[in-house]
Subunit: 147 residues, 3 copies
Amino acid sequence: MGTEAEKTAKLLGGARTYPMRLETRSRTEFKDITGLLEKLILESGVANGTCLVFVPHTTAGILINENDDPNLQIDFDNFLKRLAPRAQDYQHNDGNCDAHLKAAVIGASKTLLIENGRLALGRWQGVFFCEFDGPRRRELRVKVIPD
Amino acid sequence: MGTEAEKTAKLLGGARTYPMRLETRSRTEFKDITGLLEKLILESGVANGTCLVFVPHTTAGILINENDDPNLQIDFDNFLKRLAPRAQDYQHNDGNCDAHLKAAVIGASKTLLIENGRLALGRWQGVFFCEFDGPRRRELRVKVIPD
Amino acid sequence: MGTEAEKTAKLLGGARTYPMRLETRSRTEFKDITGLLEKLILESGVANGTCLVFVPHTTAGILINENDDPNLQIDFDNFLKRLAPRAQDYQHNDGNCDAHLKAAVIGASKTLLIENGRLALGRWQGVFFCEFDGPRRRELRVKVIPD
């Protein structure tokens, strides 16, 4: 309504979660979502704060690393394939156990900083949505928390 | 006491950290703590916010992944055993070096989202406390931060 | 200025990000930054809250694990070298691909809890800045968020 307390709550509260939809096009894919996140943060109007990226899937993850040389994505893929080969004798027997293991290594929940209305990333850093069992329609939940 | 500022502080502040005690029963165990976390969030009264789960141990971790097929836990266990075999020539020579390495891969600190009084998990997701050097009495610290 | 809303904002807001500079001395290094973080938290005046540590680099990470036995750092190093050998046929061909892979496993963004003006770490836990492509001058961004 209009009490001082409510005015302040509006000023200070204002953490909000945004859904984000993605489509992946191959079994494994490192999809650069840095631009999508920047756009969302701009629209949120938050100048300084925190940005939580959460993947509500069990065969995908979020990776913060170099997005300059696309060759590196091939190395990430090969690296994870060596750690968790697809064709191995797994107990979870539906053909995508390797994807669960890769997702466990990369992680489904990452925290980023927002400074001056932008992601506070290093010069070479980007944010990747890592698909390990595509192609699929995927969803992300992105929470933007003002300082 | 009763100024507007203090009223607002009560409304908006209210982040709280809860201790959680666990007991594990074997050397390696993937203990599903989703239900325990949901209960704690319900009791906190927080409808929307963030839930930080922190493990104050160096041979355990938190994993967010599928909790539907219990066989997958055997695969996680075998996978990590292949990466970090127990019987290997380690410098840290007290018999649990493999557990430190596994904990480093899985991670001791994870961030979850709270929506409508519940964890905002995907359909197949659960949260596991990962024991790598049990059986032991363990502790978690869970911080619930309202939006 | 001086409205109640502004007074409350000062009381409750107050999340701040601090830059931290580091220098590493060898290609791989596990640099214990627990003391530096504790000092920064003390200076921030925050008694209870959250501490986000973010590495704006793509060949370094943050690890929360035992900092008591320095031998364990040799094991972490050997473990990661086995997972991602430096001399291998990589696509990202500038001689530090292994460092990107190690950084992806360890992670660039970690969340810690602050309780009673200190990091809420377990008895054996410390926080390491992990250098995988040093020696270099590095930077960290540390956000301290009061409850």
